[in-house]
């Protein structure tokens, strides 16, 4: 497999072919914030926090580094006024859902995001999809999934599968950046299989 050479924030970076820009950057210690990325899962491109600026044909364009393939001669900036502004805006949108999420608060501090910019939303879910994808891709159980679309989209446990699988697993719990997942699980548990194993990890 051939090696790719590109430039990230002024540094010459080498990466294996097939790697994403995010992997290449993190490989040399350049940090790019992410919410929906997980090393063991397929790239998703949902949270868009990992956007970076790429120079193409003299113009700059914004791409999501978690899904953008590393290519020879790419010139990439991981920070700029514009990138920071958009990341801040994304964080503010998510803080309307989960103002007290430690992950979000940490990022909010770095990007100066105001957690009260928008009216608080009723759901704490930030739709990163980590639980859904982990359960599908790693555990192959599909006990939790997305239902509906757009602003009505939410995660939901499938009671039949969850009753059989979740109590002994719960590996998705620590992945959730807002703890909403646990709440969703408790809800389905109490509604659908209340007499199941009561012990909680």
């Amino acid at each position: 497999m051939s090696e790719i050479r590109m430039q990230i924030d002024g540094n010459e970076v080498r990466a294996k072919e097939g790697r994403t820009v995010l992997e290449a950057a993190r490989g040399v210690g350049i940090s790019i914030p992410t919410l929906c990325h997980h090393d063991e899962l397929q790239p998703y491109g949902g949270c868009r926090l990992c956007i970076v600026e790429v120079e193409i044909h003299g113009g700059k364009t914004i791409v999501a580094s978690c899904v953008h393939q590393a290519e020879d001669d790419l010139v990439i900036s991981t920070r700029s006024d514009k990138i920071d502004r958009i990341r801040r805006s994304i964080l503010e949108l998510l803080l309307a859902h989960a103002p007290d999420s430690p992950t979000l608060q940490e990022l909010a501090q770095e990007y100066g995001a105001d957690k009260n910019k928008f009216e608080q939303e009723a759901s704490f879910c930030v739709h990163c999809g980590l639980c859904v994808r982990y359960c599908a891709e790693i555990k192959e159980k599909h006990a939790v999934g997305f239902i509906d679309r757009g602003i009505r989209k939410e995660i939901s446990f499938l009671p039949e599968i969850a009753a059989a699988e979740c109590n002994d697993c719960k590996e998705c719990f620590p992945l959730c950046p807002t703890s909403y997942l646990q709440a969703a699980f408790v809800l389905v548990e109490s509604l659908a299989f209340p007499r199941g194993k009561a012990t909680r990890a």
Binding site: C47, A64, I86, F146, G150
Partner: protein, 638 residues
């Protein structure tokens, strides 16, 4: 069927048809069907049967002609006499007078609203006269279920040419040279896409027709598919040959039953005749087509979401690259174009790329079909050469704004397009000019707005549509649109703040720059373009709590002008809120506390009085004292 047999069949059909024989054509597109075309057709059938005329008289029901405003449309050939808004009661007269006596029935003709002049022939009607119906024109000449009709107008000549006289590479370069740009919205050169798919290393490749037309008010793809399914299939087969695909899919909206019916009939027929399947026309080329019905999600019109949906998954866009031409359906190189793009292909192959490219502008060749709707006299589908001015489309073809109202803007490009104001009406309609003006070509929706349309509310409406149709995968689109919609609603309700502008612009930037797919990237356009051209309307809503178009309900008040009120009781009886005080011979008063601003009093007040006033951004005059409410004028007049 072999190539020779096809040509023989064509010659036989053409020789059996007398171009001078009378023929009645009834438009049976969805628009005309809705206005009663089925009854008109039944009445013709009955009359023709009863009189035993069928031998001498041709009769054809076709797909959409485009002039939907005036349906049902009947055309009598060879004179090309065009009758509009025909009812079953008119049929005996048409048979007796026009068919038998060659006499024109004046009252069924088109009448120009401005000059009062009548037009006998279709081509004399301004709506048609200024069009160039290269692609859409065939609709009026064929029964969509008749292979013979399609053959008679030169159908499948292009496929024969491609299969027997051209290499796949030559077909690709012909489409490239024509510089045909994708009619579905993106405007990406179709030939370039074809070439990438052709060169992609894979045994299996696919071609796909995107018939998931979802823009509000847009129906050109539906009408093409309903009216000329053979044309779309011919284009698709040529594309498959060029790319090296042996399987094709048509992804068609659930909401398009007639398009589905006519397409399915055409596919079956083409299979039976050897124009689809194995060894097409004896060329050795194999190609089959399957139909897939969408499930009603707007975002599935986006190509990656469409392909995922076709695979049976939830229709959510995926990041590009890789582009479908490299890695599409089931991971195989896939060329996906929309209906209108495919319908252009036979034309390009048949006439040659040079002829095609001679029409249009530097960057956009050929014609484009638009659905002209909204506050416009002639609602319908229009096909115009690229480069025509918006003004010509609105006024010459569209006949201007009805009801003596003033033009305000035309919204192009579907929900994520933009609004173009009066001062930009002379722009030449093509992909690049519309983008420069802050809108886009999109799939060809054109919604005309008059002075009574509030531009803030228009932005709110389209953002609402997009919020509803966002798939919800990425944050800038899902959350950004949620907040934009909330702020725009707030402004239309008079609760806007000066700081909202900055937040809206920030959210617009975030969605435009960071969204995953084209839906999110273009979603802020309804706000951006109205804010760019109609900023003063936004400011009026926020600063003066005024809706200049008198459209936003929360910002409008109604009162009754005491001098004009004749105490007729009409508004009082009609008011659903019981907000109107008054009695016989007592001037009516609207109780502002109770009034819901529904506007019914305004609508029902007789036009000879016009006593109900509608205002915004100014205080309602205090009601006249109770002792002065007797209607004196009425007594005086007596």
């Amino acid at each position: 069927m072999t190539r020779e047999e096809l040509e023989k069949l064509r010659q036989r059909i053409v020789s059996e048809r007398d171009p001078d024989a009378p023929c009645i054509t009834v438009c049976a597109g969805t628009g005309c069907l809705a206005s009663g075309a089925r009854k008109v057709i039944a009445a013709f059938d009955q009359k023709i049967d009863a009189q035993g005329l069928e031998v001498d008289l041709g009769f054809r029901s076709t797909g959409c002609h485009g002039f939907c405003e005036k349906g049902p449309i009947v055309i009598i050939d060879p004179e090309e006499i065009c009758y509009l808004q025909v009812t079953p009661d008119d049929i005996p007269e048409i048979i007796e007078k026009t068919i038998k006596e060659k006499e024109v029935i004046e009252r069924l003709l088109y009448v120009d609203q401005n000059t009062g002049e009548k037009a006998v022939h279709e081509s004399d009607i301004p709506f048609y006269r200024h069009q160039e119906r290269m692609v859409f024109g065939a609709n009026r000449r064929i029964d969509p279920k008749s292979f013979e009709d399609y053959l008679a107008i030169g159908g499948y000549e292009a496929l024969v040419k491609a299969l027997f006289e051209m290499t796949p590479e030559q077909v690709v370069s012909e489409v490239k040279n024509a510089n045909l740009r994708g009619r579905g919205g993106g405007g990406f050169p179709a030939g370039v896409k074809w070439e990438i798919a052709r060169n992609a290393p894979s045994e299996t490749k696919y071609v796909v027709v995107n018939c998931d037309e979802g823009d509000p008010g847009a129906y050109m793809d539906r009408s093409l598919m309903e009216g000329n399914p053979y044309g779309v299939l011919e284009g698709l087969t040529i594309g498959a040959y060029a790319i090296g695909a042996h399987e094709g899919y048509v992804y068609i909206r659930q909401e398009y039953p007639l398009a589905l019916e006519n397409l399915t009939s055409a596919i079956e027929d083409a299979e039976n005749r050897g124009l689809l399947g194995t060894d097409i026309l004896g060329s050795g080329f194999n190609f089959q087509v399957r139909v897939h019905r969408g499930a009603g999600a707007f975002v599935c019109g986006e190509e990656t979401a469409l392909l995922i949906s076709l695979e049976g998954e939830v229709g959510e866009p995926r990041p590009r690259p890789p582009y479908p031409a490299e890695k599409g359906l089931w991971g195989k190189p896939t060329n996906i174009n929309n209906v209108e793009t495919w319908a252009n292909i036979p034309l390009i192959i048949h006439r040659g790329s040079a002829a095609f490219a001679s029409i249009g502008t530097e960057g956009s060749k050929g014609t484009k079909i638009f659905s002209l709707v909204g506050k416009i006299a002639n609602t319908g589908l229009v096909e115009v050469p690229m480069g025509i001015s918006l003004r010509d489309v609105v006024y010459k073809i569209g006949g201007g704004i009805p009801g003596g109202k003033k033009f305000k803007a035309v919204q192009t490009g579907g929900p994520s397009g933009g609004c173009i104001p009066e001062e930009r009406l002379d722009l030449e309609v093509d992909f690049d000019e519309l983008t420069k003006a802050g809108s886009m070509m999109g799939s060809g929706g054109m919604i005309v707005m008059d002075e009574e349309t509030c531009m803030v509310d228009v932005a709110r409406y389209f953002i609402d549509f997009l919020t509803d149709e966002s798939c919800g995968k990425c944050v800038p689109c899902r959350e950004g649109l949620r907040q934009m919609h909330r702020i725009l609603s707030k402004i239309t309700e008079g609760r806007g703040e000066e700081s909202d502008f900055e937040i809206l612009e920030e959210l617009a930037e975030t969605a435009r720059e960071a969204s995953l797919c084209a839906l999110g990237k273009t979603a802020p356009n309804p706000f951006l373009s109205t804010f760019r051209y109609f900023r003063e309307e936004y400011e009026a809503h926020i600063r003066e709590k005024k809706c200049p178009a008198l459209s936003c309900r929360k910002l409008v008040s109604y009162y009754i002008e005491p001098e004009k009120c004749k105490a007729c009781l009409i508004c009082l009886k009609e008011c659903p809120a019981g907000a109107i005080d008054g009695a016989k011979k007592t001037i009516h008063i609207i109780d502002q506390e109770k009034c819901d601003a529904c506007g019914i009093c305004f609508e029902v007040c007789p036009s000879r009085f016009e006593a109900v006033m509608k205002i915004s951004g100014e205080p309602v005059p205090p009601p006249i004292p109770e002792d002065q409410r007797v209607v004196i004028r009425k007594i005086k007049q007596q």
